[in-house]
Symmetry: C2
Subunit: 331 residues, 2 copies
């Protein structure tokens, strides 16, 4: 295993310390590194909180800041954060307008965020709602989740709902918007290599020199099928075929195309995938009006990428375009 680390036990702590130092203008680190929060809160705004296992950076800590999340709870690598972390984060950023929890659909995350929500409600005085993301069309259920997995589309939900929260929408409206965006967003990925979990010290799965895993999960979970490595065009066709079949968009609909690297794949290849994917989407009658390209929802050192298509209307497009100031997204 070749990683830039000092030891397996301290990776998350050291990485969070570096992150907090580098982005001290935007975030502060909670006590005991249990959460990352915005440096400056907006009283009266609904607080948006997410979190999950680490190893997917910049998700979620890189999306904390104006126009997106108020706090994020990082778990150990591929491990859910604890309910205690979430309760502390909620207490730190809820200014009285309530909290919206944005949770990727994995059993550990769902259970712990539910427990945190109950603890907060029982303590009284706070409103909490939850949006689950489950944008991955690859498999109907998986080793890590009951139902579809939440993957790169989660950042689209966080961005659009984050922008709406800045406009002083209420908790129920934001939750409804989040569910609507999730329902209009679909993703599927492909792995060219496995990731290596630091504590395991070896690749999560074996992949032949000429093989790829179509529909891989962001923890290296199995996808739809193992296949011979294909061209970028054929891969884009396979991923978008599954996405479009599921989304069944009306011809002429505007959409966002997110080409997301799993972190081991260079930007040059991701932009090549943008080119392949946009031609296919245009051929299917969609209007690709927004793009995001880069390694945003990663899987440690895995090579490969996912494609996400999110259908936009006038309102969600304007919310996507609204200003955002985070470590990972800024415009």
């Amino acid at each position: 295993m070749k990683k830039l680390i000092n030891g397996v036990e301290t990776i998350l702590d050291e990485s969070l310390d570096g992150f907090a130092a580098a982005h001290a203008d935007i975030v502060t680190l909670g006590e005991g590194r249990r959460f990352v929060r915005r440096r400056t809160l907006s009283p009266g705004k609904v607080a948006l909180i997410s979190g999950g296992g680490s190893g997917h950076e910049p998700l979620h800590v890189g999306f904390v800041g104006r126009g997106m999340l108020d706090a994020a709870c990082p778990g150990q690598v591929f491990t859910s954060p604890t309910p205690d972390q979430m309760v502390e984060a909620i207490a730190a950023v809820d200014t009285g307008a309530g909290c919206l929890l944005i949770v990727k659909n994995y059993e550990g995350d769902v259970m712990n965020f539910e427990m945190a929500g109950e603890m907060v409600r029982e303590a009284g005085g706070r409103q909490v709602a939850t949006v689950l993301t489950d944008d991955d069309v690859a498999v109907p259920t998986s080793t890590w989740s009951a139902g579809r997995r939440g993957v790169a589309g989660t950042l689209v939900v966080e961005k659009i709902v984050g922008a709406a929260a800045e406009q002083s929408l209420g908790l129920a409206e934001l939750a409804a918007l989040g569910r609507q965006v999730n329902a209009r967003t679909r993703s599927m990925g492909v792995a060219l290599t496995s990731c290596t979990v630091p504590a395991a010290g070896k690749p999560t799965f074996e992949l032949g020199a000429d093989e790829m895993e179509l529909g891989v999960g962001i923890h290296g979970e199995p996808g739809r099928k193992r296949a011979k490595l294909a061209t970028a065009d054929a891969i884009a066709e396979a991923l978008l075929g599954a996405i479009i079949a599921d989304l069944a968009p009306i011809t002429g609909t505007e959409c966002l195309l997110l080409v997301n690297g799993f972190s081991g794949t260079p930007l040059m290849e991701l932009y090549l995938m943008v080119n392949a994917a946009r031609r296919i989407l245009i051929g299917r009658g969609l209007r690709v009006t927004r793009y995001l390209t880069g390694s945003y929802v990663t899987s440690l050192d895995m090579a490969g990428c996912s494609l996400t298509v999110s259908l936009l209307d006038e309102r969600t497009q304007a919310l996507w375009d609204a200003p955002v100031t985070t470590a990972a997204l800024c415009w």
Copy 2:
């Protein structure tokens, strides 16, 4: 070789098409894809132009936009662009105030940019000046360069000079500023794996499972030494030891720390390196007041990173902070 491509011959063209489509609000692609230029020029402003072999994305095309470059010429993978490309880019973006060419110190790039400058001067009517970057302290000269190599520090020069150009500084002043920033900027990198050039189809160099290449170049050129893989702290110490010995900064000087991924190394590890590097710099009496972390000057799929330290004064710090709107850098 596992890459998201359709064929070795068309990688650059397809990637540029995807890039231009994704960032059509910021850039346009020149005829025959010979350069990438800003969509909107500022008449009367000195034009900043850079370029070099591709495979280092987002450098340089990702740095075209307001506050940074006016145009960038992409060569094939690890191959200099041609003088013709540069001449066309100059003609496309020079609005009469002259052109500053920012060139990484590699023999092919230096020769071709020199030739382009001569062609433009001979044609008459345009002023052209050049800034060479040579921030890599690893080796005094290399297989690809006479003298030190220009690496990640190049983006610091492009950002600071780019901001100054927006303030209507003249060509000579901008060239002097670029040379000053380059002289105060030093870098050194480490590879944990080789990169694989698409046309070669196999790794550029062999590295044992427990080895690293200290001082590697951004094309996989040899560095200072092959060594056993060490901890992040020890690697940071080795890289910064060489950088600080060369920079010989005065105690209390403010600096920018750039932790640059070569593209195969996840952000989680890069932030861990930020943490390691900042402690060392503070221990050496420097004040780390600015940070940039990410894969900005890459080497295809190579795992590893480089550290760059750039000494700042009040003026250069303000220029670093000035607004920038490019595909890869935005604040």
